[in-house]
């Protein structure tokens, strides 16, 4: 089987020089672009299987790169390496069509794990990342209007619970650790463990009438975290 083709985009040669060979050794065919414009040129030439792009770059930054790629109706998965750690930056990156993000400095093993997960996900559920509406059984999540309906009736959720539900529905079948969810959605993955995730899962279960012992939507994976078990469709 061909090695997945990765386009690595970063203006800092310290990153591409070190990461490129590492990704090659990890089983990927890697091409490198020095900024967003270079990446667009590469994509015009040949669409890779996945793109890993820095955010802060000259000429064309990572966010604008994502917008332009999506504007061309290209669904290749994109992982953003955000340099600005703001939570708002994070959610904006995801909102605008990036499939995942990783904060610098990151563990290279983590990047490889993330690349593989995103490749698996995009093969299993193509187009889900860009979908405006997510559906599972009788549950409908309108990502644009930020509203949720269950069996035709609106469910009122706190913003955090809604974000958590969206995050899980976009990654059906994947196991999410509490730590990772805390880091991704709360930005609170330091100093101390927190029960924030469990608290919001409890809210979701309550509002979605989901029985933890026989879940239709949210399954607890003992001593690990949570998994969205229902098949997810898009509209």
């Amino acid at each position: 089987m061909d090695r997945p083709r990765i386009l690595l985009v970063d203006d800092d040669a310290a990153i591409t020089d070190a990461l490129g060979p590492y990704l090659e050794r990890s089983g990927f065919a890697v091409r490198v672009a020095a900024d967003g414009q270079g990446a667009l040129d590469e994509v015009s030439h040949a669409v890779p299987d996945l793109m890993v792009a820095d955010v802060m770059m000259p000429r064309l930054d990572g966010r604008e790169l994502v917008r332009r790629v999506r504007a061309r109706r290209l669904t290749l998965p994109i992982i953003l390496l955000t340099q600005v750690g703001e939570s708002s930056e994070r959610s904006a990156a995801l909102d605008e069509g990036a499939d995942d993000y990783l904060n610098k400095p990151f563990d290279p093993h983590e990047l490889v794990a993330r690349i593989r997960a995103v490749l698996r996900r995009s093969a299993a559920t193509p187009g889900l990342a860009g979908a405006r509406t997510l559906t599972a059984h009788d549950l409908v999540l309108d990502r644009t209007a930020r509203r949720v309906h269950l069996a035709g009736r609106e469910v009122v959720l706190t913003p955090k619970a809604l974000t958590l539900l969206e995050h899980l529905m976009l990654r059906p079948g994947e196991v999410h650790t509490r730590e990772r969810l805390l880091a991704t959605l709360w930005g609170l993955d330091f100093a101390t463990p927190s029960r924030a995730v469990d608290h919001r899962v409890a809210e979701l279960r309550r509002e979605l009438h989901d029985d933890a012992s026989a879940p239709r939507f949210l399954e607890t994976v003992p001593s690990v975290g949570y998994r969205f078990v229902a098949p997810v469709g898009s509209a």
Partner: protein, 367 residues
């Protein structure tokens, strides 16, 4: 507890102590042992963090309204909402002007008849300048302390990495050398991440909701107790219900839970035996969560800076920690218009009180 209310409050508009709490009167000593008085000026706190070269954080910080009164073992930390540095400096000045003017009120009353408008204006301007200068001095002091601690945190990992690189230049590094680079670079990465997260806390939007505080604190205590039966036996929670219960508070539940968890984890970490008492009560329209332990305590000299970023007391170096926990707690409370009060006696124990404004703060029972 005596003198529990501390002057606090500062709106994002930076108004001069609009709706400020009572002026910082000298509180009665609350530590169990007397100590030499160590008065300090009301000091502004506002923290800004900037990122500099190679992902290493530089953090400029200042403390608003840190008042040392009466006892070196008692520190009152009053914290304000973050804002732009310039706005902070102005706010700080204005708040301090109010304090300064209040303190002088009595003597001014005697002189009032003789005071001319011009003289009054000059006095006001002088007080303003003095307060602003004091605020800037404190900002610079805190910044300097932070840089010194950052230097301390960075130099060992960087030296270790350079040593491996040097030995690599002379021949192939050993597996141990690679392991050292891995460990030291992780240490740096964690430091950078934590500082960034702390900076994010300053500006992240709060998702306020009405929260049942007794339930939140009970959940936190139960979770800590579940980690260790020995700890469970030492932990107790008292929630006052009479003459009135603790009212609900409007807070970002997740952030407050993290703050409470941190304080509890500290109590567990720094006390190997003895009781850990958690007390929740309403006091003067504020909800107070106190976590008290019989642990090793904090040296008096380090108490005033215990909530600074990267602060690690001299007697805490054997216990793993980032030195960011209490800074996080202070930031969370400040974002909610609340305060953190740390009282401690080295060798005896520590009490940390988180005070939050409640909806009834201005019209609560008894007022």
């Amino acid at each position: 507890m005596s003198g529990a209310t501390a002057s606090q409050h500062d709106g994002p508009s930076g108004g001069p102590a609009a709706g400020a709490g009572p002026q910082p009167t000298a509180p009665q000593p609350t530590a169990p042992r007397p100590a030499a008085a160590a008065d300090g000026p009301a000091r502004p706190r506002a923290v800004t963090v900037a990122w500099a070269l190679a992902g290493v954080a530089l953090l400029a910080a200042a403390v608003v309204g840190l008042a040392l009164r009466g006892d070196t073992r008692v520190v009152r930390l009053t914290v304000a909402l973050p804002c732009a540095l310039a706005a902070c400096a102005l706010t700080v000045g204005l708040v301090a002007v109010v304090v300064a003017l209040t303190v002088r009120a009595r003597s001014r009353r005697r002189a009032r008849d003789r005071a001319r408008d011009g003289a009054h204006a000059r006095e006001l301007a002088a007080a303003y300048d003095a307060a602003r200068t004091a605020g800037r001095d404190e900002q610079r002091d805190q910044h300097r302390r932070f840089l010194a601690r950052l230097d301390h945190e960075l130099k060992n990992p960087v030296t270790a990495i350079r040593a491996v690189a040097a030995s690599g230049a002379a021949g192939a590094p050993t597996p141990d050398a690679w392991a050292s680079i891995d460990a030291q670079s992780r240490r740096l990465a964690t430091l950078v991440r934590d500082l960034r997260k702390l900076a994010e806390l300053e500006t992240r939007p709060l998702e306020l909701e009405s929260v049942d505080l007794p339930a939140l604190v009970r959940e936190a205590v139960d979770a800590l107790a579940a980690t260790d039966p020995g700890l469970a036996a030492r932990l107790s929670l008292t929630v006052t219900t009479v003459p009135w219960p603790v009212p609900d508070v409007a807070v970002d539940r997740d952030l407050l839970a993290v703050a409470v968890d941190n304080v509890l984890a500290n109590a567990a970490k720094f006390s190997t035996d003895g009781a850990i008492e958690v007390r929740l009560r309403e006091h003067d329209g504020r909800a107070e969560i106190e976590v008290a332990d019989a642990g090793r305590g904090i040296p008096a000299a380090e108490l005033p800076h215990v909530c600074d970023e990267l602060a690690r007391a001299a007697n805490a170096r054997d216990v793993p920690g980032s030195g960011l926990g209490l800074a996080l707690v202070a930031t969370v409370l400040r974002r909610h218009g609340g305060t953190v009060v740390v009282r401690s006696v080295e060798g005896t124990g520590t009490s940390v009180t988180l005070a939050l404004p409640t909806a009834t703060e201005t019209s609560g029972p008894g007022t």
